[in-house]
Amino acid sequence: MAAIWAPSISVSAQAPSSTPTDVVIQNATVMTVTHGTIPHGSVWIHNGKIAGVGATVNAPAGAKTIDAAGKYVTPGIIDPHSHSALGDDVNEATSPVTPSMMMIDAFDNRDKALYQALAGGVTTELLLHGSANMIGGQAVVIKNKFGLSRDEMLFPNAPRSIKFASGENPKRVYGRRGEVPSTRMGNFEVMRQAFEDAKAYMASWDAYNAKVAKSDKDAVAPKKDLKLEALADVLRGKLLVQIHCYRADEFLTEEAIAKEYGYKIRAFHHALEMYKVGDKIAPTGTGIATFADWWGFKDEAWDAIPWNAVMSTREGVRVALKSDSNDYVRRLNQEAGKMVNYGGATEDEALRMITLNPAWIIGVDDRVGSLDEGKDGDVVIWNMDPLSTYARVEKVFIDGDMFFDSSMPGFGTTHFNGVMHEAGFEGSDDEGGGQ
C-alpha cells in the first residue's frame, strides 16, 4: 500500500528500509516533554532517529527542511489502551483465563480507525485484549504506519504486555451464564487458581530440568501448555501486566495478589478511583492509564472525577490518558488539555500524560514519548498549541517518514478508497469491548 500513496507525499514516504536522510523541522515551538519548550526551535531527524533538538541543530547541508514558523512540534501521541484494528476479535469470552490469546493474530492493519488516529497525531498504540476475562490475552504494540504491511507496523522489539481485568465486566460476562466469576470474590479466586496452576507447571519443568541436569534417562518433558507458559512468564516478570480495574479497593486487592505471587503490575487501566488511594499505589510503582473525564456509565465509574489524573499525579503516580475508543483516540491532545482545567496541570504535565507516560506504560519510553536525541523520529507538527481545542494536526512523522499530511487528499478520497473497498472496509464504530 505504501507505493500507492507515496507519490502524493512531499517529503519522504518510502518504506523505512529506504529512509534516506535528514529532515529538519525549524522555527517551531518545540515541546520536548523532557526538557521544556523551545520557543524557536528545530528538530533534526537523521535516518529515522532524532539527531538533534534545540534552538539550532547541526543538520548537514542538503537536509530536507520544513519551515514550521508559528507551528508547534511535539513527540507522537501515544495511546496506551486501544482495541482498534482487532475487528470483532477483541474478547475470547469463553473462559475467564485465556493468556495464550495473541492480539497480533487479530491485528488488521487496514482498519480505518488507525488512519483516523494517525490524523490525530497518534503514532504508537497498545492494542489490548478486551475486559471480559480476568486474564485476557497478550497485547500488540504498533506504530501507526498506516499503509504499510502488518509486519512493518509492529513496534520493533517492544516488550510484551498482558491484559487482566477485574470488576463488573468479568462478573457480567460469566455471571450471566451462571459461571464463575459472578462476584469480585470469584474474580480474584479465578486469578489465584490460575497462578497456582502456573506455579505447579513451573515446578514440573524445574523437576524435569533437574533430572536432565543429572542425566536422568527417565526424564520426560512435561507438555508445553500455552496458557501456563504465558502465566509462568508473568511470574518470571517477562510480561508487563496491564489491569482493567476501576475501584480503589480493587487496586489494593490486585497489588496484594501481585505481591503474593511475586509479579509487578505495570499499570491499572481506567483507574477512575485512583485519587482515593494514590498515596498507597505510588510506592508500588504502578502507573495508570485513565480517562480524562468519562464517568457514570456504569456503577464502578460512579465515583469518577475529572480531577483524578492530576490528583493522582500529585500523589506521585505515573499517569497516562488513554482513549479506549476509536473516537477519543483522534483527539487525545484535547483530553490532555482538559487537565489544565481540571486540576491545573502544567502544559508539560498534561502533554506528558499522552506521550512519555503512556510510553512508559507500554515499556517503550526509552525509544519514544519525548523529543530527545537518539529517540525514534516520531514527531507531530500542529498548527497551534496542541492542548487547545482548536489545534489541528498538520504532519505526522514516524521513524522519520511522513505518514500523514493534512494537505493531502488522504483517506476518504478516491485515491485511498480503491484500496479501502478492496480490503472490504466498512464502518467500524467503537467495538472495543472496553470501558
Partner: protein, 453 residues
C-alpha cells in the same frame, strides 16, 4: 483545585452553611442548595469582564447587571451605571457569556447507563410513541445536572433516546431549581422523530427478534401511516362534535392525539437523518404532512448541503465527532457545521445524548467545529441563541440582552477551550453553588501532598 473565587455576595445564606464555623446556629428554614425561592430579588453586577453578548458583539470591559432574575443592563463599563446596593462580581480577566443550551440530551432520563433500572431512555415496545413525554421521566435530582451546569450548561432539550421512529416529546429544562417543576421550563416542546438506518428493528442488537420495520421502507411507511391515522382520528373526532352526529364519539387516543399539534405545524419535529438520502426521504415525508422541521444528527450529508440549505430549516449537526464514512476524508464530519453555516443554515450543536462525559463537553464540540472552519461567533451561537430560537425560546434565552433570563456564566478564559475553567454560573440571576458530587469527592480526597512531579 483552583482556589475558590472570592466574591462579595458569597455571603448569601446557602453558602454560609458550607463554611460556617461550628458555633454558628443555622436557621431551621435554611434553604437547600437548589432553593431559588426568595433569591431573585437581588441585584448583581458582573463588572470588568470580556462580555460575549452573542447578539451585539464583544464588550472588552463590560458590565452585566441582573435583577429579579432578569438581565437589566448590558454594556461597557463607562456606559453602564451600577445601581446602588448591587452586589459586585469582579470578572476582571474573565469572560462573561450566556448560559449554554444543549440542543439534545438524555439528561435526567438515565443515571447509570449500564443499570437498566436507572434508565428511562426510550420506550421501545412500539416504534411510534408520540404519547411518551420526556417530562414524565425527568429526574430533577440526578447527579448529572450539577456536574453539567458547573461547565456552564444552563438549559437543555431533554429528548428520549433515538431508538424509535417516533420516540416521544422533548422538554426544555433549566439546570437549577428546587424540584422538577422549577426545572421543567416547558414540556412537549418538540416531537423526536428518527429516520436513521440504526432505528430499524433488525433484531440483533438487543438480542430481541427482528420485527417490522427492518428497512427504511418500513420506517417510512410506518411514520406515514401514523400521521394518516392521526388525520383520520381528527376528522372523526370533529365529526363527533356535530349536532347531527350519530353513535358514540371516538375513544380518546393519546397516541394519535399527540401527533395533532405537529400536524398543525404548531410545534417542530426534531427529525434525525444521518445520510444524504435519509435526509431527502425524511424531508419528503415531512413535506407530505407539512411538518415544521428541525433536522437532527445530520453527519454524512456532504453531497446535499445546498439542498439542505434550500429547505430553510434549522439543523442540529453531528455529533461533530461522528466517524467519517469510508468515502469521506478524516475531517469530513468535523467541518460539517462550517459547511452548513456557510450556506446560511441556522445550526445548533448538541451533546447528542450525553455520552461518557455528559453535556459538560458541549462547548468543546463547538470549539472543534471552529478548528474546522466554523466562525467563532457562529459556534458560540450554535450552543446558545440558535437552539433557543429553534425551540421557540429566543425571546428569553441564548444571549446577554436586556429582558432575558439571567443565565450567565463567568469563566477564566475562552469558553470553547478545554483548558478554561468556569468560575461562576448564574441561573435566574442566582449564583449557583459551584458544588457537585464530583467536587465533593475531589475535596474529600484532596491529596495531602501538593508537590509537582
Amino acid at each position: 483545585m483552583k482556589s475558590t473565587l472570592l466574591i462579595a455576595f458569597f455571603a448569601c445564606a446557602s453558602l454560609t452553611a458550607l463554611t460556617a464555623s461550628a458555633q454558628t446556629v443555622q436557621p431551621v428554614s435554611q434553604p437547600g442548595p437548589n432553593d431559588t425561592a426568595g433569591m431573585t430579588a437581588k441585584t448583581i453586577a458582573i463588572v470588568g469582564g470580556k462580555v460575549l453578548t452573542v447578539t451585539h458583539g464583544t464588550i472588552e470591559n463590560g458590565t452585566v447587571i441582573m435583577s429579579g432574575g432578569k438581565i437589566v443592563a448590558v454594556g461597557s463599563a463607562k456606559a453602564t451605571k451600577v445601581p446602588a446596593g448591587a452586589e459586585i462580581f469582579d470578572a476582571k480577566g474573565m469572560t462573561v457569556y450566556p448560559g449554554l443550551f444543549d440542543a439534545e440530551t438524555n439528561l435526567g432520563l438515565t443515571e447509570v447507563a449500564s443499570d437498566q433500572n436507572s434508565n428511562d431512555l426510550a420506550e421501545t415496545a412500539d416504534e411510534i410513541e408520540p404519547q411518551m413525554h420526556a417530562a414524565d421521566a425527568f429526574h430533577a435530582e440526578t447527579v448529572h445536572i450539577p456536574v453539567d451546569r458547573l461547565n456552564g450548561i444552563t438549559n437543555a432539550i431533554v429528548a428520549p433516546a433515538s431508538e424509535d421512529s417516533i420516540a416521544g416529546q422533548d422538554s426544555v429544562i433549566q439546570l437549577y431549581g428546587r424540584d422538577r417543576d422549577q426545572m421543567l421550563m416547558q414540556r412537549d416542546v418538540a416531537l423526536a422523530m428518527n429516520f436513521e438506518g440504526s432505528v430499524r428493528r433488525k433484531g440483533n442488537f438487543n438480542g430481541g427478534p427482528s420485527k417490522f420495520p427492518t428497512t427504511r421502507m418500513g420506517l417510512a411507511s410506518q411514520i406515514r401511516q401514523a400521521f394518516l391515522d392521526a388525520q383520520a382520528y381528527e376528522v372523526e373526532r370533529a365529526a363527533a362534535t356535530k349536532p347531527d352526529h350519530k353513535g358514540v364519539p371516538p375513544k380518546r387516543d393519546l397516541k394519535l392525539e399527540a401527533l395533532l399539534p405537529y400536524l398543525h405545524g404548531e410545534k417542530p419535529v426534531v427529525l434525525a437523518a444521518r445520510e444524504s438520502y435519509e435526509v431527502e426521504v425524511a424531508m419528503g415525508l415531512a413535506k407530505e404532512f407539512h411538518l415544521k422541521v428541525i433536522l437532527n444528527h445530520v453527519t454524512h450529508a456532504q453531497d446535499v448541503l445546498d439542498e439542505i440549505a434550500s429547505y430553510h430549516v434549522p439543523v442540529i449537526v453531528g455529533s461533530v465527532y461522528d466517524f467519517p464514512r469510508p468515502d469521506e476524508r478524516y475531517d469530513a464530519v468535523y467541518s460539517l457545521p462550517a459547511e452548513l453555516q456557510k450556506r446560511g443554515v441556522k445550526i445548533a450543536l448538541s451533546s447528542d445524548g450525553g455520552g461518557e462525559g455528559g453535556s459538560r463537553n458541549l462547548p468543546y464540540a463547538a470549539g472543534y467545529a471552529v478548528a474546522y472552519g466554523l466562525p467563532y461567533d457562529e459556534a458560540l451561537k450554535a450552543i446558545t441563541l440558535n437552539p433557543a430560537e429553534m425551540f421557540g425560546l429566543g425571546d428569553s434565552l441564548g444571549s446577554l440582552d436586556v429582558g432575558k433570563t439571567a443565565n450567565v456564566v463567568v469563566a477564566n478564559g475562552d469558553p470553547l477551550d478545554v483548558r478554561t475553567s468556569v468560575k461562576q454560573v448564574f441561573i435566574d440571576g442566582n449564583a449557583v453553588p459551584m458544588v457537585s458530587r464530583q467536587t465533593k469527592l475531589r475535596d474529600e480526597y484532596m491529596p495531602l501532598t501538593t508537590k509537582k512531579p
